[in-house]
């Protein structure tokens, strides 16, 4: 190695590769990997924002088991995955099929459908808070057609489902683009062969399109389930910092934020909840990928 460097026309400084990688490694080490290790360690201490804390073993986790708020958070985050993921796997695929053909003006529609992805989640949250308001647009429309006003943002369950709808609304365009790329690789001959065999549109969708984009559906399921379990902003904005009526709409990450920040923040306990978030996230990924492998065999 050294002899070859000597023979080079101009010698490369031996330290330069590390110089190149240094900023990235430093930032990643200090702000991602160290906090990760520190989260794991803190989860077994009673550390607070201003108090260093000491080792308490599994006390935080034992407390979790008896913490109603933790179970509410876990329920809501899990429910979020169960409801949002199927919608985000199927709807963007249908949307991609709709915008796939190059008919006049289609690039405008593709871009327009992507707009919610570009907007900040805070903007999106506030737009829907106003739309779903007791006196907002959705309710005026509902009243006009004679359904009457619905308390989307005051009922515990309606609030949660409204937040889910907003998550789906914001995610549609993103996954649509992913599906569009996948659909471009589906051989057209398959569709033609199916039409020749007399298969209708729905049948062709199920027997040709779905199998062809199956691996993309798995990818979307993995990405969206991880994102859904970590949901924070939509629910925070729509239900408020305390998580709706009696905190019943709190999600796990909201609980982490509420417990662990501020001057009296219980860093140790919040870290224990964070660890649960982390473990479930990894488990969800593995579950989706395993389901994929089983399907294949």
């Amino acid at each position: 190695m050294t002899t070859s460097t000597v023979t080079r026309v101009r010698r490369q400084l031996p330290s330069s590769p590390w110089l190149f990688a240094a900023p990235g490694l430093l930032i990643t080490g200090v702000f991602i990997l160290y906090p990760f290790v520190s989260t794991v360690v803190n989860a077994f201490t009673d550390r607070r924002t201003l108090v260093p804390g000491k080792f308490v073993g599994l006390a935080n986790f034992r407390e979790l088991l008896h913490d109603d708020m933790f179970w509410i958070g876990l329920r809501n985050s899990a429910l979020y995955v169960v409801c949002v993921v199927p919608a985000l796997v199927v709807l963007p695929l249908l949307l991609a099929l709709l915008v796939r053909k190059n008919i006049p003006g289609i690039t405008f529609f593709r871009s327009a459908f992507y707009t919610p992805v570009v907007a900040s989640i805070v903007v999106v949250g506030l737009i829907w808070v106003w739309l779903l308001d007791e006196r907002g647009l959705v309710n005026s429309l509902l009243e006009t057609v004679g359904v009457g006003r619905v308390g989307f943002l005051s009922d515990q369950w309606l609030l949660l489902f409204s937040a889910m709808a907003v998550t789906v609304w914001k995610g549609l365009g993103y996954y649509m683009i992913i599906y569009l790329a996948a659909l471009a690789n589906v051989p057209r001959e398959l569709h033609e062969a199916a039409s020749v065999d007399g298969a209708g549109a729905i049948r062709r969708f199920l027997t040709v399109t779905v199998p062809a984009v199956r691996s993309t559906m798995v990818l979307v399921a993995a990405l969206s389930s991880v994102a859904a379990f970590k949901v924070f902003s939509e629910v925070y904005l729509m239900a408020g910092p305390s998580g709706g009526p009696a905190g019943e709409d709190t999600t796990l990450v909201m609980l982490v934020q509420r417990t662990g920040t501020g001057l009296t923040g219980r860093v140790g306990y919040a870290s224990a909840i964070s660890l649960v978030v982390f473990v479930v996230t990894v488990a969800l990924m593995l579950l989706v990928l395993r389901a994929d492998r089983r399907d294949e065999s």
Binding site: T28, P35, Y114, T115, Q257
Partner: protein, 301 residues
């Protein structure tokens, strides 16, 4: 060639049925199908873009105009910018926008520079420990930020940087995913061009700056756009790290506006329009890179 020749006669047999609009394969689309498609497209358009337009319309409605009417009035009777003046009187919205701009600009610069350098080191330079360095970035990409956010907050406190804009930028300033994106871009470059520069006596910095970097401009643009959007739109981290209202970014300021003046819908609407307009403008100009970023991020992420 032979495929094309075979395909021709088939399309010719269809030609007499008057093809009007064709799809990407040159196949004819029936009028009925076309009508259904446009109706569906317009319906989805109303659903996805409608809410933004309603927000814009609300922000332009004057204080005397009824914004709660049923049936709703979609267009403001007397459009006015009054609400934009009022939102600036209520919260320092332009200062917040400036803070957001600072954070986003810093995030763009650090991500482009940091991830290009690190990506080049991972892709091109030969040294011991390269695989470990790659693994560090892959592991970092897999760690969910929400799971370590409290520890990031305590780390920032230890560094004395909480409640500063630098503290907002730092944790994401060289994203692991961007590093890996750049690494892949550099790896896809043919070795030959750099070898030529090497023979001409260019050292590693010159090869990086003059040869490799200009060849991956597209990926740098993707990194820049997503860094800007990520920083401008971020909510959870600035919410945790910033406590002093004078340091707020636009998203945190909007949350504050919403929490404090929740009943004044026109005001909140004006605030959200201010926050979303720059990004929609950016998106309108640089769509190509937005879409490309989705593809690259999803495949590699």
């Amino acid at each position: 060639m032979s495929v094309l020749q075979k395909a021709r006669p088939v399309s010719r047999t269809e030609a007499p049925r008057e093809p009007r609009v064709t799809d990407e394969h040159g196949r004819r689309i029936r009028v009925g199908e076309l009508v259904v498609r446009y109706v569906l497209l317009l319906a989805v358009l109303a659903l996805t873009v409608g809410p933004f337009l309603w927000q814009l319309s609300t922000s332009l409605k004057g204080p005397t105009e009824d914004i709660f009417s049923s049936p709703p009035t979609f267009l403001p009777g007397h459009p006015t910018l009054h609400n934009y003046e009022r939102v600036a009187d209520t919260i320092p919205v332009w200062d917040y926008a400036l803070n957001s701009l600072k954070v986003a600009a810093a995030n763009v610069v650090t991500n482009c520079v940091g991830s290009a350098l690190a990506g080049y080191a991972l892709a091109r330079l030969r040294y011991r420990g390269r695989r470990v360095a790659t693994l560090v970035f892959i592991l970092a990409m897999l760690v969910p930020v929400e799971g370590i956010i409290i520890a990031q907050f305590t780390t920032m406190r230890e560094l004395g940087l909480n409640n500063t804009l630098i503290g907002v930028v730092l944790p994401g300033c060289v994203g692991a995913m961007n590093v890996l994106l750049m690494r892949n871009a550099f790896r896809n470059l043919p070795y030959e061009i750099e070898e030529a520069a090497y023979v001409d006596g260019a050292n590693v910095w010159q090869r990086f700056l003059r040869v490799a970097l200009p060849s991956v401009r597209g990926t740098v643009a993707v990194v820049a756009i997503f860094a800007f959007m990520g920083a401008w739109d971020d909510f959870l981290w600035p919410l945790i790290v910033l406590s002093d209202p004078s340091k707020f970014t636009l998203t945190i300021g909007l949350n504050y506006l919403h929490g404090t003046f929740a009943n004044d819908e026109r005001l909140v609407a004006a605030g959200t329009v201010i926050a979303v307009a720059p990004l929609i403008a950016l998106f309108a100009c640089l769509q190509r890179y937005f879409f490309r970023g989705v593809g690259e991020g999803a495949v590699k992420g």
